[in-house]
Chain length 313, copies 2
Protein backbone atom coordinates (compact mmCIF):
# COMPACT_ATOMS: atom_id res chain seq x y z
CA UNK A 1 0.00 0.00 0.00
CA UNK A 2 1.23 3.44 -0.90
CA UNK A 3 -0.35 5.78 1.63
CA UNK A 4 0.23 8.86 -0.49
CA UNK A 5 -1.50 7.55 -3.58
CA UNK A 6 -4.25 5.89 -1.57
CA UNK A 7 -4.92 9.31 -0.11
CA UNK A 8 -5.32 10.68 -3.59
CA UNK A 9 -2.85 13.47 -2.92
CA UNK A 10 -1.93 15.33 -6.05
CA UNK A 11 1.75 14.84 -6.84
CA UNK A 12 3.08 18.20 -7.97
CA UNK A 13 5.82 18.44 -10.58
CA UNK A 14 8.06 20.54 -8.42
CA UNK A 15 7.70 18.74 -5.15
CA UNK A 16 10.78 17.23 -3.62
CA UNK A 17 11.28 13.51 -4.07
CA UNK A 18 9.87 11.34 -1.32
CA UNK A 19 12.16 11.29 1.66
CA UNK A 20 11.45 7.72 2.62
CA UNK A 21 14.46 6.14 0.99
CA UNK A 22 16.82 8.90 2.07
CA UNK A 23 15.37 8.71 5.56
CA UNK A 24 15.91 4.98 5.74
CA UNK A 25 19.58 5.54 4.97
CA UNK A 26 20.19 8.17 7.60
CA UNK A 27 23.20 6.93 9.52
CA UNK A 28 22.83 6.05 13.16
CA UNK A 29 19.13 6.80 13.43
CA UNK A 30 16.73 3.96 14.05
CA UNK A 31 13.17 3.79 12.73
CA UNK A 32 10.76 5.91 14.76
CA UNK A 33 8.79 3.94 17.32
CA UNK A 34 5.09 3.76 16.37
CA UNK A 35 4.25 4.10 20.05
CA UNK A 36 5.54 7.69 19.97
CA UNK A 37 3.25 8.87 17.18
CA UNK A 38 0.81 11.57 18.21
CA UNK A 39 -1.69 13.45 16.07
CA UNK A 40 -2.24 17.16 16.50
CA UNK A 41 -5.94 17.68 15.93
CA UNK A 42 -5.32 20.57 13.51
CA UNK A 43 -4.13 17.93 11.05
CA UNK A 44 -7.67 16.61 10.58
CA UNK A 45 -9.63 19.62 11.75
CA UNK A 46 -11.53 19.99 8.47
CA UNK A 47 -12.59 16.35 8.42
CA UNK A 48 -13.64 15.49 11.95
CA UNK A 49 -15.02 16.67 15.29
CA UNK A 50 -13.13 15.90 18.49
CA UNK A 51 -15.20 12.77 19.26
CA UNK A 52 -14.56 11.54 15.72
CA UNK A 53 -10.84 12.21 16.07
CA UNK A 54 -10.65 10.30 19.35
CA UNK A 55 -12.49 7.35 17.79
CA UNK A 56 -10.29 7.43 14.71
CA UNK A 57 -7.07 7.42 16.73
CA UNK A 58 -8.26 4.32 18.57
CA UNK A 59 -9.22 2.70 15.26
CA UNK A 60 -5.74 3.35 13.89
CA UNK A 61 -3.93 2.34 17.07
CA UNK A 62 -2.43 5.77 17.56
CA UNK A 63 -1.75 6.54 21.23
CA UNK A 64 -1.14 10.29 21.29
CA UNK A 65 -3.33 13.33 20.72
CA UNK A 66 -2.70 17.08 20.85
CA UNK A 67 -5.96 18.99 20.88
CA UNK A 68 -6.56 22.59 19.83
CA UNK A 69 -8.66 24.83 22.05
CA UNK A 70 -11.23 25.79 19.45
CA UNK A 71 -11.85 22.17 18.54
CA UNK A 72 -12.16 21.20 22.19
CA UNK A 73 -14.52 24.11 22.87
CA UNK A 74 -16.82 23.05 20.05
CA UNK A 75 -17.56 19.72 21.68
CA UNK A 76 -17.07 20.73 25.30
CA UNK A 77 -14.03 20.53 27.53
CA UNK A 78 -15.38 18.00 30.01
CA UNK A 79 -16.84 15.73 27.35
CA UNK A 80 -13.57 15.81 25.43
CA UNK A 81 -11.52 15.16 28.55
CA UNK A 82 -13.69 12.14 29.37
CA UNK A 83 -13.44 10.72 25.86
CA UNK A 84 -9.66 11.13 25.83
CA UNK A 85 -9.38 9.51 29.26
CA UNK A 86 -11.62 6.61 28.27
CA UNK A 87 -9.56 6.09 25.14
CA UNK A 88 -6.39 6.18 27.26
CA UNK A 89 -4.77 8.62 24.88
CA UNK A 90 -1.61 10.47 25.83
CA UNK A 91 -2.24 14.24 25.54
CA UNK A 92 1.17 15.22 24.25
CA UNK A 93 0.40 18.93 24.41
CA UNK A 94 -2.47 21.39 24.41
CA UNK A 95 -2.62 24.02 21.65
CA UNK A 96 -2.39 26.76 22.54
CA UNK A 97 -1.78 29.66 24.88
CA UNK A 98 0.25 32.74 24.13
CA UNK A 99 -0.59 35.82 22.05
CA UNK A 100 0.85 37.97 24.82
CA UNK A 101 1.20 41.22 22.87
CA UNK A 102 -1.40 43.99 22.94
CA UNK A 103 -1.72 47.70 22.39
CA UNK A 104 -3.04 48.59 25.86
CA UNK A 105 -3.32 47.34 29.44
CA UNK A 106 -6.84 46.02 28.82
CA UNK A 107 -5.52 43.87 25.99
CA UNK A 108 -2.68 42.60 28.13
CA UNK A 109 -5.12 41.72 30.92
CA UNK A 110 -7.39 39.90 28.49
CA UNK A 111 -4.41 37.89 27.25
CA UNK A 112 -3.40 37.06 30.81
CA UNK A 113 -6.90 35.87 31.71
CA UNK A 114 -7.27 33.84 28.56
CA UNK A 115 -3.92 32.16 29.17
CA UNK A 116 -4.93 31.20 32.68
CA UNK A 117 -8.04 29.56 31.26
CA UNK A 118 -5.82 27.70 28.79
CA UNK A 119 -3.75 26.38 31.70
CA UNK A 120 -6.94 25.24 33.47
CA UNK A 121 -8.13 23.48 30.33
CA UNK A 122 -4.76 21.80 29.81
CA UNK A 123 -4.98 20.50 33.38
CA UNK A 124 -8.51 19.20 32.81
CA UNK A 125 -7.31 17.36 29.72
CA UNK A 126 -4.25 15.94 31.46
CA UNK A 127 -1.95 17.51 28.88
CA UNK A 128 1.79 17.13 29.25
CA UNK A 129 2.32 20.81 28.50
CA UNK A 130 0.64 23.97 27.24
CA UNK A 131 2.13 25.23 23.98
CA UNK A 132 2.73 28.97 23.77
CA UNK A 133 2.58 30.75 20.42
CA UNK A 134 3.68 34.04 21.82
CA UNK A 135 2.18 36.61 19.45
CA UNK A 136 3.71 39.04 16.98
CA UNK A 137 3.43 42.81 16.79
CA UNK A 138 0.45 44.20 18.71
CA UNK A 139 -2.67 44.39 16.55
CA UNK A 140 -5.41 46.97 16.28
CA UNK A 141 -9.11 46.13 16.45
CA UNK A 142 -9.12 45.13 12.77
CA UNK A 143 -6.22 42.74 13.24
CA UNK A 144 -3.64 44.96 11.50
CA UNK A 145 -0.26 45.70 13.09
CA UNK A 146 -0.58 48.70 15.40
CA UNK A 147 3.14 49.07 16.07
CA UNK A 148 6.50 48.29 14.50
CA UNK A 149 8.25 47.97 17.84
CA UNK A 150 9.51 44.40 17.61
CA UNK A 151 11.75 44.75 20.65
CA UNK A 152 8.78 46.09 22.61
CA UNK A 153 6.65 43.13 21.51
CA UNK A 154 9.39 40.78 22.67
CA UNK A 155 9.39 42.52 26.02
CA UNK A 156 5.63 41.98 26.36
CA UNK A 157 6.14 38.32 25.55
CA UNK A 158 8.79 37.95 28.23
CA UNK A 159 6.58 39.63 30.79
CA UNK A 160 3.53 37.62 29.73
CA UNK A 161 5.30 34.29 30.00
CA UNK A 162 6.78 35.30 33.34
CA UNK A 163 3.37 36.16 34.75
CA UNK A 164 1.76 33.00 33.37
CA UNK A 165 4.52 30.93 34.89
CA UNK A 166 3.51 32.18 38.33
CA UNK A 167 0.09 30.66 37.66
CA UNK A 168 1.08 27.49 35.81
CA UNK A 169 4.03 26.37 37.92
CA UNK A 170 2.16 25.83 41.18
CA UNK A 171 -0.61 24.16 39.20
CA UNK A 172 1.90 21.73 37.72
CA UNK A 173 1.33 22.61 34.06
CA UNK A 174 4.56 22.97 32.10
CA UNK A 175 4.66 25.81 29.56
CA UNK A 176 6.28 25.11 26.20
CA UNK A 177 7.47 28.07 24.13
CA UNK A 178 7.18 27.37 20.41
CA UNK A 179 9.55 29.39 18.25
CA UNK A 180 7.78 30.13 14.99
CA UNK A 181 9.37 30.57 11.57
CA UNK A 182 10.72 34.10 11.03
CA UNK A 183 8.12 34.64 8.31
CA UNK A 184 5.56 34.77 11.14
CA UNK A 185 7.43 37.35 13.23
CA UNK A 186 4.97 40.17 12.53
CA UNK A 187 1.71 38.28 12.71
CA UNK A 188 1.99 35.29 15.02
CA UNK A 189 5.12 34.98 17.08
CA UNK A 190 8.13 37.20 17.65
CA UNK A 191 10.08 34.31 19.17
CA UNK A 192 11.68 33.00 16.01
CA UNK A 193 14.62 30.81 16.90
CA UNK A 194 15.23 28.04 19.39
CA UNK A 195 18.11 30.08 20.80
CA UNK A 196 15.70 32.90 21.58
CA UNK A 197 13.29 30.49 23.29
CA UNK A 198 16.12 28.94 25.28
CA UNK A 199 17.26 32.41 26.33
CA UNK A 200 13.75 33.18 27.58
CA UNK A 201 13.69 29.95 29.57
CA UNK A 202 17.05 30.71 31.13
CA UNK A 203 15.90 34.19 32.07
CA UNK A 204 12.45 33.32 33.41
CA UNK A 205 12.97 29.89 34.95
CA UNK A 206 16.66 29.28 35.53
CA UNK A 207 17.30 25.73 36.64
CA UNK A 208 13.60 24.86 36.41
CA UNK A 209 13.44 22.95 33.13
CA UNK A 210 10.20 21.06 33.50
CA UNK A 211 8.17 24.18 34.39
CA UNK A 212 9.20 26.13 31.30
CA UNK A 213 10.54 24.63 28.14
CA UNK A 214 10.27 24.55 24.37
CA UNK A 215 8.49 22.83 21.51
CA UNK A 216 10.68 21.94 18.56
CA UNK A 217 8.52 22.09 15.41
CA UNK A 218 10.60 21.15 12.41
CA UNK A 219 8.59 23.39 10.10
CA UNK A 220 9.70 26.45 12.01
CA UNK A 221 13.31 25.62 12.81
CA UNK A 222 14.64 23.20 10.18
CA UNK A 223 16.63 25.95 8.41
CA UNK A 224 18.46 27.15 11.54
CA UNK A 225 22.24 26.71 11.36
CA UNK A 226 22.27 26.60 15.19
CA UNK A 227 19.55 23.97 15.49
CA UNK A 228 21.64 21.02 16.63
CA UNK A 229 23.43 23.14 19.23
CA UNK A 230 20.23 24.66 20.58
CA UNK A 231 18.43 21.31 20.79
CA UNK A 232 21.36 20.01 22.82
CA UNK A 233 21.21 23.11 25.02
CA UNK A 234 17.47 22.66 25.63
CA UNK A 235 17.95 18.98 26.35
CA UNK A 236 20.72 19.59 28.85
CA UNK A 237 18.36 21.93 30.73
CA UNK A 238 15.44 19.44 30.62
CA UNK A 239 13.47 21.80 28.42
CA UNK A 240 12.53 19.60 25.43
CA UNK A 241 8.81 19.29 26.09
CA UNK A 242 7.42 18.39 22.67
CA UNK A 243 8.45 17.60 19.09
CA UNK A 244 6.27 18.48 16.09
CA UNK A 245 6.80 16.99 12.66
CA UNK A 246 5.61 17.71 9.13
CA UNK A 247 7.62 18.84 6.08
CA UNK A 248 8.63 21.94 4.11
CA UNK A 249 7.38 21.76 0.54
CA UNK A 250 9.22 23.17 -2.46
CA UNK A 251 7.62 25.31 -3.63
CA UNK A 252 5.56 26.41 -0.65
CA UNK A 253 2.47 28.03 -2.13
CA UNK A 254 0.98 29.44 1.06
CA UNK A 255 2.89 30.57 4.12
CA UNK A 256 0.31 29.30 6.58
CA UNK A 257 -1.58 26.35 5.12
CA UNK A 258 0.78 24.54 2.76
CA UNK A 259 2.74 22.37 5.15
CA UNK A 260 3.77 19.00 3.84
CA UNK A 261 3.36 15.42 4.96
CA UNK A 262 6.60 13.90 6.26
CA UNK A 263 8.66 12.78 3.27
CA UNK A 264 7.08 15.12 0.73
CA UNK A 265 9.45 18.03 1.41
CA UNK A 266 13.07 18.81 2.10
CA UNK A 267 13.42 18.52 5.87
CA UNK A 268 15.92 15.90 7.02
CA UNK A 269 13.56 14.51 9.62
CA UNK A 270 15.65 11.53 10.78
CA UNK A 271 18.62 13.82 11.32
CA UNK A 272 16.67 16.26 13.46
CA UNK A 273 15.03 13.39 15.39
CA UNK A 274 18.54 12.06 15.97
CA UNK A 275 19.50 15.40 17.52
CA UNK A 276 16.42 15.28 19.74
CA UNK A 277 17.22 11.75 20.87
CA UNK A 278 20.88 12.61 21.45
CA UNK A 279 19.67 15.47 23.66
CA UNK A 280 17.68 13.01 25.76
CA UNK A 281 14.23 13.56 24.32
CA UNK A 282 12.06 10.47 24.66
CA UNK A 283 8.64 12.04 24.11
CA UNK A 284 6.09 12.02 21.33
CA UNK A 285 6.48 12.75 17.63
CA UNK A 286 3.45 14.88 17.02
CA UNK A 287 2.18 15.36 13.47
CA UNK A 288 0.87 18.89 12.95
CA UNK A 289 0.03 19.68 9.34
CA UNK A 290 -1.82 22.81 8.31
CA UNK A 291 -2.63 22.05 4.69
CA UNK A 292 -5.48 22.94 2.41
CA UNK A 293 -4.45 19.88 0.39
CA UNK A 294 -4.49 17.37 3.24
CA UNK A 295 -7.68 18.84 4.72
CA UNK A 296 -9.41 17.67 1.54
CA UNK A 297 -8.24 14.06 1.97
CA UNK A 298 -10.45 11.60 3.93
CA UNK A 299 -9.32 11.54 7.55
CA UNK A 300 -8.63 7.82 7.64
CA UNK A 301 -6.29 8.18 4.68
CA UNK A 302 -4.51 11.06 6.40
CA UNK A 303 -3.94 8.97 9.54
CA UNK A 304 -2.78 5.94 7.55
CA UNK A 305 -0.31 8.17 5.73
CA UNK A 306 0.89 9.73 8.98
CA UNK A 307 1.58 6.27 10.40
CA UNK A 308 3.45 5.08 7.32
CA UNK A 309 5.50 8.22 6.91
CA UNK A 310 6.26 8.50 10.62
CA UNK A 311 8.17 5.24 10.52
CA UNK A 312 10.81 6.86 8.29
CA UNK A 313 10.63 10.35 9.77
CA UNK B 1 2.37 65.54 -3.14
CA UNK B 2 1.67 62.10 -1.74
CA UNK B 3 4.00 59.77 -3.57
CA UNK B 4 2.01 56.68 -2.70
CA UNK B 5 -1.29 57.96 -4.00
CA UNK B 6 0.34 59.58 -7.02
CA UNK B 7 1.71 56.17 -7.80
CA UNK B 8 -1.82 54.81 -7.71
CA UNK B 9 -0.80 52.03 -5.33
CA UNK B 10 -3.79 50.16 -3.98
CA UNK B 11 -4.04 50.67 -0.23
CA UNK B 12 -4.99 47.30 1.23
CA UNK B 13 -7.20 47.05 4.29
CA UNK B 14 -4.74 44.96 6.21
CA UNK B 15 -1.57 46.80 5.39
CA UNK B 16 0.37 48.33 8.21
CA UNK B 17 -0.03 52.05 8.77
CA UNK B 18 2.50 54.21 6.95
CA UNK B 19 5.75 54.32 8.80
CA UNK B 20 6.59 57.88 7.88
CA UNK B 21 5.38 59.52 11.05
CA UNK B 22 6.75 56.81 13.32
CA UNK B 23 10.03 56.96 11.44
CA UNK B 24 10.29 60.70 11.92
CA UNK B 25 10.01 60.18 15.66
CA UNK B 26 12.71 57.53 15.93
CA UNK B 27 15.05 58.79 18.65
CA UNK B 28 18.60 59.68 17.79
CA UNK B 29 18.35 58.89 14.09
CA UNK B 30 18.60 61.73 11.59
CA UNK B 31 16.85 61.85 8.24
CA UNK B 32 18.54 59.74 5.60
CA UNK B 33 20.77 61.71 3.27
CA UNK B 34 19.31 61.86 -0.25
CA UNK B 35 22.85 61.51 -1.59
CA UNK B 36 22.94 57.95 -0.27
CA UNK B 37 19.88 56.74 -2.15
CA UNK B 38 20.57 54.03 -4.70
CA UNK B 39 18.11 52.13 -6.86
CA UNK B 40 18.48 48.43 -7.44
CA UNK B 41 17.41 47.89 -11.03
CA UNK B 42 15.11 44.99 -10.07
CA UNK B 43 12.81 47.63 -8.56
CA UNK B 44 11.86 48.93 -12.01
CA UNK B 45 12.75 45.91 -14.11
CA UNK B 46 9.26 45.52 -15.54
CA UNK B 47 9.03 49.15 -16.60
CA UNK B 48 12.40 50.02 -18.13
CA UNK B 49 15.52 48.83 -19.95
CA UNK B 50 18.93 49.65 -18.53
CA UNK B 51 19.40 52.76 -20.69
CA UNK B 52 15.98 53.98 -19.59
CA UNK B 53 16.83 53.33 -15.94
CA UNK B 54 20.11 55.25 -16.22
CA UNK B 55 18.29 58.17 -17.83
CA UNK B 56 15.55 58.11 -15.22
CA UNK B 57 17.99 58.12 -12.31
CA UNK B 58 19.64 61.24 -13.77
CA UNK B 59 16.23 62.85 -14.28
CA UNK B 60 15.35 62.22 -10.63
CA UNK B 61 18.75 63.22 -9.29
CA UNK B 62 19.45 59.80 -7.85
CA UNK B 63 23.18 59.07 -7.67
CA UNK B 64 23.35 55.31 -7.06
CA UNK B 65 22.48 52.25 -9.13
CA UNK B 66 22.72 48.52 -8.50
CA UNK B 67 22.30 46.58 -11.73
CA UNK B 68 21.21 42.97 -12.18
CA UNK B 69 23.12 40.73 -14.53
CA UNK B 70 20.19 39.75 -16.74
CA UNK B 71 19.20 43.38 -17.23
CA UNK B 72 22.77 44.35 -18.06
CA UNK B 73 23.13 41.43 -20.48
CA UNK B 74 20.01 42.46 -22.36
CA UNK B 75 21.49 45.80 -23.33
CA UNK B 76 25.14 44.80 -23.37
CA UNK B 77 27.80 45.03 -20.67
CA UNK B 78 30.06 47.57 -22.34
CA UNK B 79 27.20 49.81 -23.42
CA UNK B 80 25.75 49.74 -19.93
CA UNK B 81 29.13 50.43 -18.34
CA UNK B 82 29.62 53.43 -20.61
CA UNK B 83 26.17 54.84 -19.87
CA UNK B 84 26.67 54.46 -16.13
CA UNK B 85 30.10 56.07 -16.34
CA UNK B 86 28.80 58.95 -18.45
CA UNK B 87 25.99 59.51 -15.97
CA UNK B 88 28.52 59.44 -13.11
CA UNK B 89 26.39 56.98 -11.17
CA UNK B 90 27.77 55.15 -8.17
CA UNK B 91 27.42 51.38 -8.73
CA UNK B 92 26.61 50.40 -5.16
CA UNK B 93 26.69 46.68 -5.92
CA UNK B 94 26.31 44.21 -8.77
CA UNK B 95 23.56 41.58 -8.51
CA UNK B 96 24.48 38.84 -8.40
CA UNK B 97 26.89 35.95 -8.10
CA UNK B 98 26.44 32.89 -5.97
CA UNK B 99 24.29 29.79 -6.51
CA UNK B 100 27.24 27.66 -5.47
CA UNK B 101 25.38 24.40 -4.85
CA UNK B 102 25.08 21.62 -7.42
CA UNK B 103 24.53 17.90 -7.66
CA UNK B 104 27.77 17.02 -9.41
CA UNK B 105 31.30 18.28 -10.20
CA UNK B 106 30.20 19.58 -13.60
CA UNK B 107 27.55 21.73 -11.94
CA UNK B 108 30.05 23.03 -9.39
CA UNK B 109 32.50 23.90 -12.20
CA UNK B 110 29.77 25.69 -14.13
CA UNK B 111 28.93 27.72 -11.03
CA UNK B 112 32.60 28.55 -10.53
CA UNK B 113 32.99 29.75 -14.11
CA UNK B 114 29.80 31.75 -14.03
CA UNK B 115 30.86 33.45 -10.81
CA UNK B 116 34.21 34.42 -12.31
CA UNK B 117 32.36 36.03 -15.20
CA UNK B 118 30.22 37.90 -12.68
CA UNK B 119 33.38 39.25 -11.03
CA UNK B 120 34.67 40.37 -14.43
CA UNK B 121 31.39 42.12 -15.19
CA UNK B 122 31.34 43.80 -11.79
CA UNK B 123 34.84 45.13 -12.50
CA UNK B 124 33.78 46.40 -15.92
CA UNK B 125 30.89 48.25 -14.32
CA UNK B 126 33.01 49.68 -11.53
CA UNK B 127 30.77 48.12 -8.89
CA UNK B 128 31.66 48.53 -5.23
CA UNK B 129 31.02 44.83 -4.58
CA UNK B 130 29.54 41.67 -6.07
CA UNK B 131 26.54 40.41 -4.13
CA UNK B 132 26.42 36.66 -3.49
CA UNK B 133 23.09 34.87 -3.17
CA UNK B 134 24.64 31.59 -2.26
CA UNK B 135 22.11 29.01 -3.42
CA UNK B 136 19.87 26.57 -1.55
CA UNK B 137 19.66 22.80 -1.78
CA UNK B 138 21.15 21.41 -5.00
CA UNK B 139 18.58 21.20 -7.79
CA UNK B 140 17.95 18.60 -10.46
CA UNK B 141 17.62 19.42 -14.15
CA UNK B 142 13.98 20.42 -13.64
CA UNK B 143 14.83 22.82 -10.83
CA UNK B 144 13.45 20.62 -8.05
CA UNK B 145 15.50 19.90 -4.92
CA UNK B 146 17.76 16.92 -5.53
CA UNK B 147 18.93 16.56 -1.95
CA UNK B 148 17.86 17.32 1.60
CA UNK B 149 21.40 17.66 2.86
CA UNK B 150 21.33 21.24 4.13
CA UNK B 151 24.65 20.92 5.93
CA UNK B 152 26.18 19.58 2.74
CA UNK B 153 24.80 22.52 0.76
CA UNK B 154 26.31 24.88 3.29
CA UNK B 155 29.64 23.17 2.85
CA UNK B 156 29.45 23.68 -0.93
CA UNK B 157 28.70 27.34 -0.32
CA UNK B 158 31.71 27.74 1.95
CA UNK B 159 33.97 26.06 -0.61
CA UNK B 160 32.48 28.04 -3.48
CA UNK B 161 32.97 31.39 -1.79
CA UNK B 162 36.48 30.42 -0.78
CA UNK B 163 37.41 29.53 -4.35
CA UNK B 164 35.81 32.67 -5.77
CA UNK B 165 37.69 34.77 -3.25
CA UNK B 166 40.97 33.52 -4.73
CA UNK B 167 39.83 35.01 -8.02
CA UNK B 168 38.12 38.19 -6.81
CA UNK B 169 40.59 39.34 -4.17
CA UNK B 170 43.58 39.87 -6.48
CA UNK B 171 41.21 41.53 -8.97
CA UNK B 172 40.09 43.95 -6.29
CA UNK B 173 36.41 43.07 -6.35
CA UNK B 174 34.90 42.70 -2.84
CA UNK B 175 32.41 39.85 -2.39
CA UNK B 176 29.30 40.56 -0.32
CA UNK B 177 27.44 37.59 1.14
CA UNK B 178 23.71 38.28 1.38
CA UNK B 179 21.90 36.25 4.02
CA UNK B 180 18.42 35.50 2.73
CA UNK B 181 15.27 35.06 4.76
CA UNK B 182 14.94 31.53 6.19
CA UNK B 183 11.88 30.97 4.00
CA UNK B 184 14.34 30.84 1.06
CA UNK B 185 16.67 28.29 2.65
CA UNK B 186 15.65 25.45 0.32
CA UNK B 187 15.35 27.33 -2.93
CA UNK B 188 17.69 30.32 -3.00
CA UNK B 189 20.15 30.66 -0.18
CA UNK B 190 21.14 28.44 2.72
CA UNK B 191 22.91 31.35 4.43
CA UNK B 192 19.99 32.65 6.46
CA UNK B 193 21.28 34.86 9.24
CA UNK B 194 23.80 37.63 9.48
CA UNK B 195 25.61 35.63 12.15
CA UNK B 196 26.06 32.80 9.67
CA UNK B 197 27.40 35.20 7.03
CA UNK B 198 29.76 36.77 9.57
CA UNK B 199 30.98 33.31 10.56
CA UNK B 200 31.73 32.54 6.91
CA UNK B 201 33.67 35.78 6.57
CA UNK B 202 35.69 35.02 9.69
CA UNK B 203 36.47 31.55 8.42
CA UNK B 204 37.34 32.42 4.83
CA UNK B 205 38.91 35.85 5.11
CA UNK B 206 40.00 36.49 8.70
CA UNK B 207 41.14 40.05 9.14
CA UNK B 208 40.42 40.89 5.51
CA UNK B 209 37.15 42.80 5.79
CA UNK B 210 37.05 44.66 2.52
CA UNK B 211 37.69 41.53 0.41
CA UNK B 212 34.78 39.57 1.85
CA UNK B 213 31.80 41.08 3.64
CA UNK B 214 28.04 41.12 3.89
CA UNK B 215 24.95 42.82 2.50
CA UNK B 216 22.32 43.72 5.07
CA UNK B 217 18.92 43.54 3.36
CA UNK B 218 16.22 44.48 5.84
CA UNK B 219 13.66 42.22 4.17
CA UNK B 220 15.73 39.16 5.02
CA UNK B 221 17.01 40.01 8.48
CA UNK B 222 14.59 42.44 10.17
CA UNK B 223 13.11 39.69 12.37
CA UNK B 224 16.47 38.50 13.76
CA UNK B 225 16.82 38.98 17.53
CA UNK B 226 20.60 39.10 17.04
CA UNK B 227 20.52 41.72 14.28
CA UNK B 228 21.93 44.67 16.19
CA UNK B 229 24.75 42.58 17.61
CA UNK B 230 25.66 41.05 14.25
CA UNK B 231 25.60 44.40 12.45
CA UNK B 232 28.01 45.71 15.05
CA UNK B 233 30.18 42.63 14.61
CA UNK B 234 30.28 43.07 10.83
CA UNK B 235 31.03 46.75 11.18
CA UNK B 236 33.90 46.17 13.57
CA UNK B 237 35.45 43.83 10.98
CA UNK B 238 34.93 46.32 8.09
CA UNK B 239 32.49 43.91 6.48
CA UNK B 240 29.40 46.08 5.95
CA UNK B 241 29.52 46.38 2.16
CA UNK B 242 25.93 47.27 1.27
CA UNK B 243 22.53 48.04 2.77
CA UNK B 244 19.26 47.14 1.04
CA UNK B 245 15.93 48.62 2.03
CA UNK B 246 12.27 47.89 1.36
CA UNK B 247 9.54 46.75 3.76
CA UNK B 248 7.74 43.65 5.04
CA UNK B 249 4.03 43.83 4.29
CA UNK B 250 1.34 42.40 6.54
CA UNK B 251 -0.04 40.26 5.12
CA UNK B 252 2.63 39.15 2.67
CA UNK B 253 0.73 37.52 -0.18
CA UNK B 254 3.69 36.11 -2.09
CA UNK B 255 6.98 34.99 -0.61
CA UNK B 256 9.06 36.26 -3.52
CA UNK B 257 7.34 39.20 -5.19
CA UNK B 258 5.33 41.02 -2.54
CA UNK B 259 7.95 43.19 -0.93
CA UNK B 260 6.78 46.56 0.26
CA UNK B 261 7.82 50.17 -0.31
CA UNK B 262 9.55 51.68 2.71
CA UNK B 263 6.88 52.82 5.16
CA UNK B 264 4.15 50.47 3.95
CA UNK B 265 5.16 47.58 6.19
CA UNK B 266 6.35 46.79 9.69
CA UNK B 267 10.12 47.10 9.54
CA UNK B 268 11.60 49.74 11.83
CA UNK B 269 13.84 51.13 9.12
CA UNK B 270 15.28 54.12 11.01
CA UNK B 271 16.22 51.85 13.89
CA UNK B 272 18.09 49.41 11.69
CA UNK B 273 19.74 52.26 9.79
CA UNK B 274 20.81 53.62 13.16
CA UNK B 275 22.48 50.29 13.93
CA UNK B 276 24.25 50.40 10.57
CA UNK B 277 25.49 53.94 11.19
CA UNK B 278 26.57 53.11 14.73
CA UNK B 279 28.59 50.26 13.25
CA UNK B 280 30.39 52.69 10.97
CA UNK B 281 28.48 52.13 7.76
CA UNK B 282 28.50 55.22 5.54
CA UNK B 283 27.51 53.62 2.24
CA UNK B 284 24.39 53.62 0.10
CA UNK B 285 20.79 52.89 0.99
CA UNK B 286 19.76 50.74 -1.90
CA UNK B 287 16.09 50.24 -2.67
CA UNK B 288 15.39 46.70 -3.87
CA UNK B 289 11.71 45.90 -4.20
CA UNK B 290 10.45 42.76 -5.88
CA UNK B 291 6.76 43.50 -6.17
CA UNK B 292 4.12 42.59 -8.68
CA UNK B 293 2.24 45.65 -7.40
CA UNK B 294 5.04 48.17 -7.87
CA UNK B 295 6.05 46.67 -11.21
CA UNK B 296 2.65 47.84 -12.48
CA UNK B 297 3.25 51.45 -11.40
CA UNK B 298 4.87 53.91 -13.86
CA UNK B 299 8.61 53.99 -13.26
CA UNK B 300 8.77 57.72 -12.60
CA UNK B 301 6.16 57.35 -9.87
CA UNK B 302 8.14 54.49 -8.34
CA UNK B 303 11.31 56.59 -8.22
CA UNK B 304 9.50 59.63 -6.80
CA UNK B 305 8.04 57.41 -4.10
CA UNK B 306 11.43 55.85 -3.34
CA UNK B 307 12.93 59.32 -2.88
CA UNK B 308 10.13 60.52 -0.61
CA UNK B 309 10.03 57.38 1.50
CA UNK B 310 13.80 57.12 1.73
CA UNK B 311 13.95 60.38 3.62
CA UNK B 312 12.13 58.77 6.55
CA UNK B 313 13.57 55.28 6.21
Amino acid sequence: MDPASSAGLPQGDHRAPSGSSAAARAPGVRAASPALLSINTATVRAQWTMPQIVDALQRHGIRGIAPWRDQVARDGLMDTARRIRDAQLDVTCYCRGGMFTATDPAGLRAARDDNRRAVDEALALGARCLVLVVGGLPKDSRGAPASKDLAGARGMVRDGIGALLDYARPAGMPLAIEPLHPMFAAERACVNTLAQANDLCDELAPGDGPALGVVVDVYHVWWDPCLEREIARAGAAQRLLDYHICDWLVPTTDMLNDRGMMGDGVIELPRIRGWMEAAGYRGAHEVEIFSERWWKVPGDDVLATCKARHAAA
